[in-house]
Symmetry: C2
Subunit: 885 residues, 2 copies
Amino acid sequence: MGKWVYTFGDGSAEGDASQRDLLGGKGANLAEMASLGLPVPPGMTITTEVCTYFYEHDRNYPPELEAEVNAALDKIAASTGRTFGDPKMPLLVSVRSGARISMPGMMDTVLNLGLNDDTVGALAENAGDERFAVDSYRRFIQMYGDVVLGVEMRNFDEHLEALKEEKGIELDTELTADDWRGLIEVYKELVLKETGKPFPQDPKDQLWGAIGAVFGSWRNDRAITYRRLHQIPERWGTAVTVQAMVFGNMGDTSATGVAFTRNPSTGEKQLYGEFLINAQGEDVVAGIRTPQDITERARIEAGSERPSLERSLPDAFKQFREVCDKLEGHYRDVQDLEFTIERGKLWMLQTRAGKRTAKAALKIAVDMVDEGLISEDEAVKRIEPNSLDQLLHPMIDPKAKTDQFAKALPASPGAASGEIVFTSEEAERLAASGRPCILCRIETSPEDISGMHAAGGIFTTRGGMTSHAAVVARGMGKPCVSGAGGVKIDYAKGTISSNGVTLKAGDKITIDGGTGEVFVGEVPMLKPELSGDFQRLMGWADGTRRMRVRTNADTPHDAKTAREFGAEGIGLCRTEHMFFDPARIMAMREMILADDTDGRRAALDKLLPMQREDFTQLFEIMAGLPVTIRLLDPPLHEFIPHTDEEISDVARALGADPEKLKNRARMLAEFNPMLGHRGVRLAVSYPEIAEMQARAIFEAAIAAAQKTGAPVVPEVMVPLVGLKSELEFVKKRIDATAKAVSEETGQTFTYQVGTMVELPRAALNADKIAEQAEFFSFGTNDLTQTTFGISRDDAGVFLGSYLREAIIDVDPFVSLDTEGVGELIRIGAERGRATRPDIKLGICGEHGGDPASIKFCETVKLDYVSCSPFRVPIARLAAAQAALG
Amino acid sequence: MGKWVYTFGDGSAEGDASQRDLLGGKGANLAEMASLGLPVPPGMTITTEVCTYFYEHDRNYPPELEAEVNAALDKIAASTGRTFGDPKMPLLVSVRSGARISMPGMMDTVLNLGLNDDTVGALAENAGDERFAVDSYRRFIQMYGDVVLGVEMRNFDEHLEALKEEKGIELDTELTADDWRGLIEVYKELVLKETGKPFPQDPKDQLWGAIGAVFGSWRNDRAITYRRLHQIPERWGTAVTVQAMVFGNMGDTSATGVAFTRNPSTGEKQLYGEFLINAQGEDVVAGIRTPQDITERARIEAGSERPSLERSLPDAFKQFREVCDKLEGHYRDVQDLEFTIERGKLWMLQTRAGKRTAKAALKIAVDMVDEGLISEDEAVKRIEPNSLDQLLHPMIDPKAKTDQFAKALPASPGAASGEIVFTSEEAERLAASGRPCILCRIETSPEDISGMHAAGGIFTTRGGMTSHAAVVARGMGKPCVSGAGGVKIDYAKGTISSNGVTLKAGDKITIDGGTGEVFVGEVPMLKPELSGDFQRLMGWADGTRRMRVRTNADTPHDAKTAREFGAEGIGLCRTEHMFFDPARIMAMREMILADDTDGRRAALDKLLPMQREDFTQLFEIMAGLPVTIRLLDPPLHEFIPHTDEEISDVARALGADPEKLKNRARMLAEFNPMLGHRGVRLAVSYPEIAEMQARAIFEAAIAAAQKTGAPVVPEVMVPLVGLKSELEFVKKRIDATAKAVSEETGQTFTYQVGTMVELPRAALNADKIAEQAEFFSFGTNDLTQTTFGISRDDAGVFLGSYLREAIIDVDPFVSLDTEGVGELIRIGAERGRATRPDIKLGICGEHGGDPASIKFCETVKLDYVSCSPFRVPIARLAAAQAALG
């Protein structure tokens, strides 16, 4: 059996800061501070392993626990000279939760434990303040009653309010010791009535009750929700810290406060914090009294009249500043501190790494490198890659007044304002006349691409974080809010309604894709700025990472954006998006309707110059860099209209028989399009399509090279390959096309042919496929769909319950499933390299921009990751962190 | 470099019968016969490796080949005393193809090669028959012109016909030597005109032309199609055998014939065959003259007047019978022979294992065991498992006159006649009044199950071998013909049309699911009979195999059939089929419509007694055997109607609001149902469904055990598991239900909980999942869909071109893809056993009844295979063969 309890205090401790997993963040850092000789009230931490044991044994404790707790209490007694229930020197303690990662406000806390009808007198005597003592007792009954005994807080509040009304007063502070004493009796009766038992008087009983309540709170609804949102595993559990009480509310030489060693919002190197004289910690947070600034400088800057701690309690302040410096130097990071001053004496109650904005994080990291506190590598590791997203997009001005219309999923970050439009056509029309708009749709489909491009942002009422709208918007770097279930769009009436508010087309709204909020009207915004700190840190990251970072880009606009963000090539250019353009879709439909190869070739001949022009532009932007182009992937029915009316329109435009078009649509319809006639299967059925695309690519490569002088190496990617023979079939035709183009033009050029590994069969047979493929790009979107057997379009319905029931920790479409999909990548990389040691390996798909997934990619030594343009900086940083291990 | 040419003749040979891969079947057996000292005209075989070289080198030969061929010709010359072009003793040869597996009639043959304007005279002299010599020469020009020079046969025929017309005669035999001589000149002119070159006179040139033509014919259209149909790989190639000619047409002491050492249709131990006096081999096959029986016994039985070989040429017959006995004894199998008697001397031209009917194969194998010729194990290996299918179903009487209506895919074997019906309801109505019917549908869906049960057979115009209709029909053992593309069904008019013939509901048709034929009217049939030979052979198989054979059965009828066929339990009981029953689907829909858990439970309470009764019946039939029951698998929308009209009807029946039902249908609709909200995902969302099913299973197990005294061990199978945590979630509820049932009834029972491994992720994580699973059943239908990323319902469109282009050899839904799906099974089995060495492993799904797949299952040591009832004998035999290796 392990050790269940760790003590700390008096300049020493059994644990240290490295033991967060066992002692929780709070317990580990209290131990560390105690060992550093800082003033920490003595206490003990009951480990997270007890929490695990507790839930595995039907809420019972390990048999050894009681003895260990008692021994620790003896130690606290020895240090403080106080024992539980002692009529002269009673020990009072706080009981707090502490998980590996802070979950603020999610779990329960009990203060002042140890007070009872007897010890309250001793507290009064010790403190020389009777009112303080009885106030503490009634707070304790209230808190313990609520947290441990399950008597709702509002029951206590009712009695308190009644008393104040009876006395005709408004503030608690006006109540006397006698008033509190009377209320204590009322409270005790309330507890008896509600629980059938008297309020426990034995401090030990109180303690065990509180410990059980804290462990129990690990599984309260709030905590479960919080963990789900923050992807904190259930099994981690919480520790419980029991610590001798100190009081910031023992008169005017007592105080309590919170502070950061640097400004968490700007990163400026200034002590930053707030405090209250004669108060308990809860009061600072509760916001009933306005807190005071800690430093004189901050007070002056804020123009405040209330005295600073620096002025009010200069000795304690001086000591506190020394503690701050010591802790920052020790942890080599900004600290977020809680402290209490009891009658002039400083006590440290908590320290932890301070949460900060992305901007502050960059400044702090770069400053600390300049200060010699940390290395460049450490600076790189300090920045949460996803946090960079904040810096790349416009933001709602935090000071702006807003009128919330709806709140849904933050599907693609950034904010945008504009007129409401309900159709792609309308979006394009407004964009053409320079009027910003927000495209509002129940859901989007590939036909909406041009409208999504035209709009400033997208808002959908259906679909999750990985819906079509969300994925495409992130790809474009457009703000998107999706899945607003409660919002109703009526296309016919041209209205959108939420909570009784109805807006119509042309009304202005603002969406915040970083929070999922939608506001009525235009809301002021802040422009993104990439500071010098950003550039320096990214430079260090680029010097560190091993993997290249490419981008997924289908348009010159995306390609340019990505280059500005540091992309080193294109990892995925999806050619089908090019065909949805209204000018082109007609030729595409003509091809689909053609009766034979000749008819198809005729239609393809119309598409060829357009495709060539697309690629020429991309190749010019990516001069000298590699560009991976995926051959046509989606099933042909995606290009054909579905309703009878649309079919008639299209047939008219094509000069075709509507019945024929209808028939073709019926023939192309599929039960499971995801697993249907698409990818390489199209190229096998209609090799002329692949030939046209290959020709466009090679002709463009020549044209662009002549302009820029820096040729790209086009990588022709055949999608959805499962068999070597499939790739062989298509590669033969691509090679023949290359030969033909080279002969016709008299130009030579370099290219590669490879495949997207997005089927389990491809990964398993990577050794054979690598005989034909010069590169693999792991298409983890589809690989996730096939490995899990989950349709991304349909998964929303049940993935919710999976997360809720903790069957999965994280949506596998958001972060790579390393045990399943990752295992296939590992197998694919290994077998591919066995055949062709220098095979180029990359990842495209959503995971290429996800830091956790990028970390995995480093472990299997992929050559590059590819992600949407706005995630390129994130990927660069994440790749650097992954390389640092 | 290897050796390219193998000679044989004169009692010795360079090759032998084991070298089929190198020498082709024909060449290997000629070599073997020569070594046995049998009379074989001397010759040489150019190996299949030359064929491979030929195609890999742009139709050029290895440089050493010419010298090797010349050396072999010298050897033939030494043996026969004849050389090419010799004016006295010219050598004439035949040039024939010979693949590893016989491809009758698919490739080209040239006879009489070596004849030219000079040697024809020597032939006449040698034979003492001028007409014979010039007839041989004109045959040679005709055959060589057609096969080697590309002059179409009908050009020659036109001249021949013109000549006969001119002479006013009908039979070739009436033409004189002079007539032939004249025709030879006409033919030579024709060749000159068509090819621009004179007919080659140099026998060596003739030979190389013929060799090239035979190798070239490996890739003619007929051969390609044949290989595709018979799954013969392209890369095998053909050998070419060049052999000295012998002549069965040198007068009345010459003859040619074919024979089987036993009757290939009944298996009876009697020499069986046909011959013609004064004829070449081609004449026997061509059917212009009616051949004679070989034995006197056969002649008498057939009531023929034409003399037998036994009578006509008794010496040659005696020698031939000895050769037959020697070859059968040597090969220890029935031989299919070709022979020629040249002026009383017997020459053997071919021997190979004789093709035989399933019935004959059984009798021959069992007889040969009794004769001590082969062992029981060998007998087991001799039977092609799939051939047993012929014995289990009624067959169209081969002697019946038929009127073909259509021909499509042989989707499920057996024949059936009945009235045409177009709806399930109609099928049930007719069945209820005892009228056999054939259900004709464009395609079938799960709602047609009851109609398919009621009908005697199913005929669909869409869908392939693995369509819903085909799979379900095979499961039921019902004949089915599917995918009749050219046939039109008009539901509104109640008609079905093919090639201008229109039939209507009520008209009678007959379908043959073994051939894909559909006939107008009722065709007489033969009943299946399982002979004593069958029982004995299956007994040997059962004694040999390691794997158990279970069945996939959902109904008592299927379960009983399977037991009769020797099933040793149920490997897959699909519970959803039980819910499509009209009486139950309403309760099912009520459940789907329920707003909350309570509503669902109320509806499930109605289903519970029905489910329990289903299982009780199955458990009684399977007394003492294991039964695997799969929990509800399909997405719920399969139980809901789709058209507005049907929705209204159902809503009325349920007393529900049609709008609500419509809404629910809309919400349940999925883009990719195969990857949607189904399997274990349903059990996670609605645990109460799994609980109801588990309860029904356990209560039924108790009830059945009380009746039969031989309890089954129910194996509760959770489908579509990808994560250990999913299974854990459901298993907890199943275990709790078992505990509850046990407590309520006071009965104990044994059960297991396991999962279907049908997702790549499950196979890859089998080690973790096995912590929760007591058994795995590899669900290879879905595993194939996910591993390949191919929807079975949609694959028909492109799998055709895949087979045509030789991108795949065989439909992976028919025979297990061992490299992809099989790799996952191997990984799954290995990792599952690593965690739980005694984990029970099986396979369900279509592949469980496919011999090639069963062979694979033996290599990974699965414990059992499970297949549809009618495939149980096939699986038993295939499992035995697999065990024999």
